[in-house]
């Protein structure tokens, strides 16, 4: 496990709230008063049922939406400043690949946007592809890949800009259980190698326990942070961990922390 300076705060959320105005004119409280600090290099899960505001929170951090109250600081900067400095890598529920680009060209896309010269672009993209274990599929088109492979390309693309923070919005929820378990192990390997801060949105309890340093449990109506649970399981974690009593105990601890579902 890479050395993490426990006092190195990467993301600071202070009393963050989000109120939407619904189509009938009523205000809907999507998120109330979320406060927490996320350390540099930490793997955090935002866990909760639909409507708990977990994706809203991720989108606030990603600068896709502005909170209606409270403050968010990313390494001392606003989310907008952090986005403009390309400190975020985004991974979505679907891989969001560009059909008309080959796998390697998909990964090169963000590098094209920041104006990296062609040679270097290809070299960096190839390195990322190697990291996710898909080097031999460089010249394939996305539709020729399986869902799991597409999502790996999505991860490689998110890492291409070498962001400090990886924001993942239910990235494995559309995959089958076998592929998902394999990708869990792979994601942890990638995380160990790259030392990113990862915020991982999910509604799968065992997934969040297996991956995270800390699980943030969000509860709905109104969306709020109801518990933060430390997952002090040893690393590196392998599939066998899921059969241990400690793992099961943590899963039920997380499950029992939900309120009003």
């Amino acid at each position: 496990m890479p050395d993490i300076n426990r006092n190195d705060v990467e993301i600071m959320l202070d009393d963050v709230g989000m109120v939407y105005t619904a189509s009938d004119g009523r205000d809907v409280q999507a998120l109330t008063s979320v406060s927490m600090n996320i350390q540099k290099g930490e793997f955090i899960s935002l866990l909760g049922p639909s409507g708990c505001g977990k994706t809203t929170l991720l989108r606030i951090i990603a600068d896709l939406i502005k909170p209606t109250s409270g403050k968010v600081l990313i390494g001392g900067e606003t989310p907008q400043q952090a986005r403009l400095k390309r400190r975020y890598g985004m991974v979505f529920q679907s891989a969001v690949l560009y059909d008309w680009r080959t796998v390697i060209k998909n990964i090169e896309l963000p590098l094209e946007i920041i104006g990296i010269p062609k040679e270097e672009r290809h070299e960096r993209a190839a390195k990322m592809l190697d990291l996710v274990g898909l080097s031999e599929f460089e010249r394939h088109y996305p539709r020729q890949l399986s869902g799991g492979m597409q999502q790996r390309v999505g991860i490689a693309r998110a890492l291409a800009l070498q962001p400090e923070i990886l924001l993942m919005d239910e990235p494995f929820s559309a995959l089958d259980e076998f592929t998902r378990e394999k990708l869990h192990v792979d994601l942890l390997k990638i995380w160990r190698k790259t030392n990113k801060t990862i915020i991982f949105v999910t509604h799968n309890i065992s997934e969040s326990v297996f991956l995270s340093d800390r699980v943030c449990v969000l509860s709905p109506h109104p969306g709020r942070l109801s518990a933060v649970i430390d997952i002090d399981l040893p690393r590196p974690r392998t599939m066998d961990l899921k059969d241990t009593a400690e793992f099961t105990a943590l899963v039920s601890k997380v499950r029992n922390s939900f309120e009003g579902v």
Binding site: A62, L64, R83, L84, R86, Y88, G89, M90, F92, Q93, S94, V96, Y98, D99, W100, R101, T102, L109, P110, E112, I113, I114, H140, Y141, R143, Q144, L145, S146, G148, M149, L161, T179
Partner: protein, 275 residues
């Protein structure tokens, strides 16, 4: 038995059946019409006669055979349709681009776009002719107007069909407007754009022929109406009908071929799944 079923439902077999059926129906009608003998020449000749007329070297207006005459006039009509088509494509695409760039332009332009489409071409033609003062130019303009609408609407539909996550991705890269268009929006809408091109290619040709009939000069439509009025052999009429149908279909397929050449990923297929 299964093999037989396979052959019976295969595409070439079905197509062949249709062609044979159409020929049979045609010949029945041609025979019926031939018995009425109201005109010196059969209004609906047998197919053999039509094919014969294409290859006949009889000069029908003193200097040209039927085929030479049709081809000469077709060149004029098709080049007008082609120029109009290209102009329509450019205008349609540019308008779609402007409409996607600005909601105000979209709100202003869209109702009029619909309106233009609702006016019949034959009603529009005299007005355009009065404005341009030249029938050849107005034929081009009308082909352009007809092309323009399907191209614009399909391209706009393409821009709107982009999944929001692609926009969010570009946003997270802090991409500028130009990059958003060149890297995401325009490549994404190419198949939609080509749908517009495929719809409007035969339309531009049809419109050109139709507008030809309004006034004289050189053009397939002019020839068509002369032949229909009995000014020359009826076979010219049928040759033009079949020739323009063929060109219309070919223009549609040509667009498909160009699209496939441009979009290599479409040919890559989806069967190579592994893992």
């Amino acid at each position: 038995m299964r093999k037989l079923k396979c052959i019976l439902t295969s595409k070439p077999f079905v197509t062949l059946c249709w062609i044979i059926l159409l020929i049979v129906i045609w010949e029945i009608f041609a025979s019926v019409v031939a018995q009425t003998k109201r005109t010196p020449e059969n209004v609906m000749p047998h197919l053999s006669g039509i094919i014969e007329s294409v290859f006949s070297d009889k000069k029908i207006n003193g200097s040209q055979t039927v085929l030479e005459m049709v081809l000469e006039n077709a060149a004029a009509t098709l080049s007008r349709a082609g120029i109009g088509y290209l102009i329509g494509i450019v205008l349609g695409f540019v308008l779609a681009l402007l409409m996607s760039l600005s909601g105000v332009i979209e709100k202003i332009a869209f109702p009029y776009l619909m309106l233009i489409q609702l006016i019949p071409i034959l009603g529009m033609a005299p007005i355009i002719n009065a404005i341009t003062g030249d029938i050849a130019v107005s034929r081009i303009v009308i082909a352009a107007i007809l092309t323009f609408y399907p191209v614009a609407t399909n391209t706009i539909a393409g821009f709107k069909a982009i999944e929001p996550a692609k926009h969010e991705l570009m946003y997270s890269y802090a991409a500028n407007k130009f990059q958003i268009y060149t890297k995401t929006m325009i490549p994404f809408c190419i198949p939609y754009f080509f749908t517009g091109l495929k719809i409007s290619a035969p339309m531009a040709i049809t419109a050109s022929i139709l507008v030809d009939t309004l006034q004289g000069g050189i053009g397939l439509g002019c020839l068509l109406s002369q032949s229909l009025k009995g000014a020359m052999t009826r076979y010219v009429f049928w040759d033009i009908v079949f020739f323009s149908a063929l060109i219309g279909i070919l223009s549609f397929y040509l667009m498909g071929v160009i699209e496939n050449l441009l979009c290599r990923y479409k040919r890559a297929g989806g069967s190579g799944k592994k893992e």
